[in-house]
């Protein structure tokens, strides 16, 4: 029995270590890729790693939703927009517009990391109050417990998210719709902009 537990710990440790490496590699890939398409694919890698960590913590439903919604839908949406805008050319990551902005960002990020760790370590946040929403462990499936909680305790927020999704759909349609009455504007003040890539520049009348 002891040997089985020790083996389980080793396997869990290995799963955690490998997924942590995958997650961090994907995150660095998102930040440091020159091509936005590569960034999106690296984002998929990170999302899969996080899904594995969800499984390791017995959040099975969330792991599946993570893969379907994030890796399946959201990243595909990103790729659609990248292709639609035609911005998949490489960006010069090394070029720095604001002097000293990048080291300052790195320093601030590191400072934030250590402050978060300090904050998490300084106080014991768990008060020991028993949960009002039910235990995560115990008998029964994860999906069952999650569903029971959502459809009883969190029923009103759940229905509000439905309204939110409808608003998002309508908003996206309104935002992206081309209105035929408005003339194409916005090119006039672009004189200082870099070399155009789009095809709309062809029909532009020189001022």
């Amino acid at each position: 029995m002891i040997a089985v537990l020790a083996a389980a710990t080793k396997v869990d440790l290995a799963v955690f270590a490998v997924s942590a490496v995958i997650v961090m590699a994907g995150a660095f890939g998102v930040v440091f890729s020159r091509n936005p398409v590569h960034s999106a694919l690296m984002l998929v890698m990170t999302l899969f790693g996080v899904a594995v960590l969800f499984v390791a913590q017995e959040a099975h439903f969330l792991a599946v939703v993570q893969v379907i919604v994030y890796a399946g839908a959201i990243v595909v949406l990103f790729l659609f927009v990248i292709m639609l805008l035609g911005v998949d050319q490489e960006e010069n990551v090394a070029a720095e517009r604001l002097r000293g902005q990048r080291p300052a960002a790195m320093a601030l990020g590191g400072l934030m990391f250590f402050l978060v760790l300090l904050l998490a370590q300084a106080t014991n946040w768990a008060t020991g109050t028993p949960s009002a929403r039910g235990a995560a462990s115990g008998p029964g499936e994860n999906v069952e417990k999650l569903g029971r909680s959502i459809f009883t305790t969190f029923l009103l927020p759940f229905e509000v998210t439905a309204v939110l999704l409808v608003i998002a759909v309508v908003g996206a349609v309104v935002l992206v719709r081309r209105s035929p009455s408005l003339p194409e504007e916005g090119d006039a003040e672009d004189e200082a902009a870099p070399e155009p890539r789009g095809q709309r520049r062809d029909e532009e009348v020189p001022a």
Binding site: D12, G134, A168
Partner: protein, 101 residues
């Protein structure tokens, strides 16, 4: 049995930091948006970890709602990005300088 929750929290903090730094140093709007997704995922990982550590299903419910809101946010945000950059060249945040005096 499982790995101690503190390691998950440290990993989540690291992921959040990388996302924040990426948001600050990248200029492509789409990549900045992806960095926001990284930060959201770090917070989701934290919530799931606390759900396990405190034995409370409420953390997982919170992640569920974060997923829904993130999906809505991505749809609206990408709609805004498309409608801005359809009429302008370039897709970096530096190209948005209409308000510059």
């Amino acid at each position: 049995m499982t790995v101690d929750g503190s390691w998950y929290l440290i990993l989540a903090a690291l992921l959040f930091t990388v996302g924040a730094i990426g948001l600050l140093i990248r200029r492509n709007v789409l990549v900045m948006f992806m960095c926001v997704e990284l930060m959201l995922n770090a917070v989701n990982l934290t919530l799931v970890t606390f759900a396990r550590m405190l034995d409370d299903i409420g953390g997982q419910v919170a992640v569920f709602f974060v997923l829904v809101v993130a999906a809505a946010e991505v749809v609206v945000g990408l709609g805004i990005i498309v409608s801005i950059f359809r009429r302008r060249v370039g897709a970096t945040a530096d190209d948005l300088h209409i308000l510059k005096g």
